[in-house]
Amino acid sequence: MNEEMITLTIDGVEVKTKKGNTILQAAREIGIDIPTLCFLKEINEVGDCRMCIVEVEGRRGFATSCIQKVEEGMIVHTNTPEVTEARRIVLDLILSNHAKDCLTCTRLGNCELQKLAERFNVQNIEYAGEMSKHEIDDKSPAIVRDFNKCILCRRCVATCKNVQEIGAIDCIGRGFESCISTMYDCSLNDVDCTFCGQCIEACPTGALHEKEVINEVWKKLKDPETYVVVQTAPAVRVALGEEFDMPIGTNVKGKMVTALKRIGFDKVFDTNTGADLTIMEEANEFMERMQGGGVLPMITSCSPGWVRFAEKNYGELLGHLSSCKSPYQMFGALIKSYFAEKYGIARDKICTVSVMPCIAKKYECSRPEMEVDGARDVDYVLTTRELARMIKQANIDFAVLQDSNFDDPMGEASGAGAIFGTTGGVMEAAIRTAVDTLEGKNIDQIEYKEVRGEKGIKEACLKVAGNEVRIAVSSGLANARKLMEQIKEGKSPYHFIEIMACPGGCVMGGGQPIKSAKVRSSVDVRKLRADSLYEIDEKSAIRKSHENPVMKQIYDEYLEKPGSHLAHKYLHTTYHPMKKYDID
């Protein structure tokens, strides 16, 4: 296809670019980096912050380069004295109403505003004045909102409202008094927020961040009485390296395990093994529902943001959710039972920590259902970012670490467990096991490419043991809503649905390293991280959950069989309709 090209001049350099591109894109193609703040490709293209203003010859006023499309023969100047002065004043004004406690901010060093201040060599605030003052919302177990650091770029609002189609936060008030908040300025805990954490990924500053539990975990680690066990989710290993300046998607599993051991965890396990366990249970549950006339479609339940969404919006349809806990919860329950008994460690001396790419899991681990016989399945959830901070605090030079392996007796995981971290992965893993089981033999086909990739809703129809199994995979809550509405109207054609709250799945979870708007507009972060997971799968000796010898070991030694009474006790959970807005 011949794409129409446009020729224009930017800062005296002639550039040919695709028709439909913005001035910003065209400029970046020739190495002119126009500063931006509110711009987030395809999500927030509104031109509010005014950092990206440029001069276009023959046009009155400045043009907004992040939105303005290129035109033939356009002559653009990005750096005239007038535009530089205006841009500098805009930055000055933003800084004049921003809490400048950078040294104690979680985004120190990874803040887009800080980078601009550095780039513009801001030495003093020329237009200092009254600052907005807001109370910090840290009521929820997952997300902290500190509006004093907000610059009103509205990237979070666009993400919540347009990408996830939740709209828990919005712009409130008017003028200087405007702020980003919830209805009646309630805590996120009490409104329709699902804790997916995508807003955090969108925030250029430290106005939104996870509720940190680093200090609590350090305390447990330093307590000689406590036996601290950590597990890491599949998606963490392909993103953690980014916090240490490694290329996006680098698999740092070996270094990560070494670092965790150096930090002082008594055991380092792999949540991928928990994922295998989930597949054992979930595939079994699915087959039981198929054969026993259970509620269909069955929907996966390992994304707690999605579960909270369902509980708040589709209370009447919760029977569709698989009763399986998410992998790290299953694993946590087994650490405090199977593992504790096997190694003779008192259950109440064990502290379970999970490193997750997820924000909602911080909430999930606090759900009342997530405990067995008084023992919490998982005590603390750390995000990938928090782990990176701990590694830095522990004086570990991550880049030069040698590799280590996960600990036994639960250190083995299948490739199926690895791909849990990307959209379509849970479904593919489940199919691998379900097909083998239903067919009663080892099927050669391992990969199911139709459920891979970035599309929001993917579907396929499989022929299994003479039956048709219609499946769908969705990521992002806007897509989840579409599938749920189908079910509500009784028109869902599917038997089995995988839903993940975050667009792209866990690799793009709210707890993953935050990528700047500039990186997000030039690199497909999701694909790089997901490809890395698929590579792990491809290189795995075992690629099906039910072939993992650890599974056999656990069921033989402890749980008997999938769906058993004990399995239900430790590995399954229940759901309850929630009020969408918890207000008086």
Partner: protein, 618 residues
């Protein structure tokens, strides 16, 4: 549903009946008592006046006299206004208690109630409306029917050529013909920037779409402007008819009027008018039996000045926060619900039917080279004849303020006139003779805006005035873009410093630099024009800013924090009255000593100024 013939019949019959409204020479036994039911007169009891008149007429069994509610006569300062036709007697400040006397003296005995008549500046008593100085230099096109017809009677509108333009357009003109006439007339948008209306229509007509809209911007937010409100209150059908014509020209079948909810009378009259027009088939399907269908809905604004900005207004009609959209794309290609949309303000639309009926050449013959036709101004502030005036473009400010407005009260000096409201600027005395049009106002640092024209005398502090406008902008900024959201707040903070004597000369420079950059970098018209009141006062009254900054002095004492009340020692007679009145004991001196003010104690309440029988305190 009425046919063309039926409408024509109504027109002819009704016209005969109403001839006395516009022709003082007509021979008739009938009299019409017209009572202004505009917002101003209504709030000073004109509804009770109407009731009272009717009551008395009924009591006295007088049959050939009708009492009619009308829209605004324009001279609001003299309200409540009662005009008796055909003899055109203009009664001012009428109270319900006066009705009896008016009926007795005027209606029954055929004499004038002298005490309710107005005087012109030369002291002469005015017997007829058109003899008032106020009306002499005016030319009423947009306001043609205001004060003449009952706005709640469609037949009265039809009598004065109402819906004739629509008939002409639908039965004999192509879409391009209509746009051509409007283009050639030279009509420009009356809402602010003055974009040529014909061009706007033509762009929207050319945009390809299955659905287009006509939107009437009646969100008159400029504080101190009430032209649009008066047109809607006095002649709502002329706006509806013009919208239908616009709809035909661009290919739209739906219109929306976005009107401030704070204008309850205007909203009511619009509702009545739309209902009546629908009943006559002048709105709805197959108007005048043609293929053209057009209907209109009202949407209420909810108190946001920024919604006067056209894209913010569209957002608001769509049910959202009124935050402006970036342009391009312009509404002509992507407007309401993403469809091509023409947005015109009320006054612009009020000119359309007259242009269609009288021709482009007629309209283009009025006004200046680039600004055709007339402009309605809401004249207010320190001027005698507060009210609504419509003058040909090119009339000078002096004519408006002195000849029409009757000059400044209490014989004070003219200091400045403010046009364009919070987006406009101040015009100093040196430009009093500038003929007013779009270009000339822009060249002297102001703008036409919607037509608010506030006159200020020499008791007004220009720094304080700039602060007043910035307070407004800060309160009304939508908060979307950085320069307007934070920048205007910072400007206000600097102005507050100036007004309280805490600023330095350097602050004035910082203020100016910030103002210039906010103008350039803001997203919408509100932000881009928000610094105008500051820039224009700086341009003409910089000295006053410097006085505030350097000498910490406000020459008008309007800035309370630095105001200094002083007793002129030459005029003080040591009567001691001020001392008795002063609530804080800030006045020194005993017995026959001349009094002085202790500035440390003084709270600048002004009690002493009022108490001094010798006007020695300032």
């Amino acid at each position: 549903m009425k046919t063309i013939e039926q409408i024509e019949k109504i027109r002819n019959e009704k016209r005969k009946e109403l001839e006395l409204r516009i022709n003082p020479e007509v021979v008739t036994q009938e009299k019409h008592i017209l009572v202004c039911r505009g917002t101003g007169c209504t709030s000073s009891k004109s509804p009770q006046i109407i009731e009272k008149f009717r009551e008395i007429l009924a009591q006295k069994n007088i049959e050939n006299v009708r009492v009619i509610q009308t829209g605004c006569f324009g001279l609001c300062a003299k309200g409540p206004i009662v005009v008796i036709r055909p003899e055109e007697t203009f009664y001012a400040h009428v109270k319900p208690e006066d009705c009896e006397e008016i009926i007795e003296t005027h209606i029954i005995n055929g004499q004038k109630v002298e005490r309710l008549l107005c005087k012109n500046m030369d002291g002469s008593i005015v017997h007829k409306l058109n003899e008032l100085d106020f009306y002499k230099k005016q030319k009423r096109i947009a306001l043609k029917n205001c004060g003449t017809i009952n706005p709640e009677e469609i037949d009265e509108y039809i009598a004065f050529d109402g819906y004739k333009a629509l008939e002409k357009v639908l039965t004999g003109m192509s879409q391009d013909d209509v746009i051509d006439v409007i283009s050639k007339s030279g009509l420009r948008g009356r809402g602010g920037a003055g974009f040529p209306t014909g061009k706007k229509w033509s762009f929207t007509k050319m945009a390809e779409s299955d659905q287009k809209y006509v939107v009437c911007n009646a969100d008159e937010g400029d504080p101190g402007a009430f032209m649009d409100r008066s047109i809607l209150e006095g002649d709502p059908h002329c706006v509806l008819e013009a919208m239908a014509i616009a709809g035909y020209a661009i290919g739209a079948n739906q219109g929306y009027i976005y009107v401030r909810a704070e204008y309850p009378i205007a909203v009511h009259r619009l509702k009545v008018a739309i209902q009546q027009a629908r009943e006559y088939g002048l709105l709805g399907k197959n108007i005048f039996g043609t293929d053209f269908c057009f209907d209109i809905d009202i949407r209420l604004g909810a108190g946001a000045f920024v919604c006067g900005e056209e894209t913010a207004l569209l957002e608001s009609i769509e049910g959202k926060r009124g935050q402006p959209r970036l342009k391009p794309p312009y509404p002509a290609s992507q407007g309401l619900f993403g469809k091509p949309t023409v947005i015109n303000n009320v006054e612009t639309l009020a000119n359309i039917t007259k242009i269609i009926l009288n021709g482009a050449e007629w309209y283009a013959s009025i006004g200046t080279e680039h600004s055709k036709g007339t402009k309605v101004f809401a004249l207010g502030g320190n001027v005698n004849n507060v009210g609504l005036v419509e003058v040909p473009m090119g009339t000078t400010l002096r004519e408006i303020v002195y000849d029409i407005g009757g000059g400044i009260p209490k014989g004070r000096e003219f200091k400045a006139a403010q046009t364009g409201g919070p987006s406009g600027g101040c015009i100093p005395a040196e430009h009093l003779d500038t003929p007013i049009d779009y270009e000339s106002l822009a060249s002297i640092g102001s703008m036409m805006g919607s037509g608010g024209l506030i006159v200020m005398d020499d008791t007004k502090c220009m720094v304080n005035l700039a602060k007043f406008y910035l307070e407004f902008t800060v309160a009304e900024s939508c908060g979307k873009c950085t320069p307007c959201r934070i920048g205007t707040k910072r400007m206000l903070e600097i102005l507050e410093k100036l007004c309280s004597g805490e600023a330095t000369e350097e602050d004035i420079e910082r203020l100016e630099k910030l103002a210039i950059n906010i103008k350039k970098a803001s997203v919408c018209g509100l932000g881009q024009s928000a610094p105008n009141p500051v820039l224009s006062t700086l341009r003409y009254f910089r000295g006053e800013f410097t006085e505030h900054a350097v000498q910490k002095k406000c020459r008008t004492n309007e800035c309370k924090k630095i105001a200094k009340i002083q007793i002129n020692q030459d005029q003080c007679k040591a009567c001691g009255l001020c001392q008795k009145q002063c609530p804080v004991g800030a006045i020194d001196g005993e017995g026959r000593e001349k009094r002085t003010i202790n500035q440390e104690k003084c709270i600048k309440c002004g009690t002493c100024i009022a108490s001094c029988p010798f006007k020695a305190i300032k």
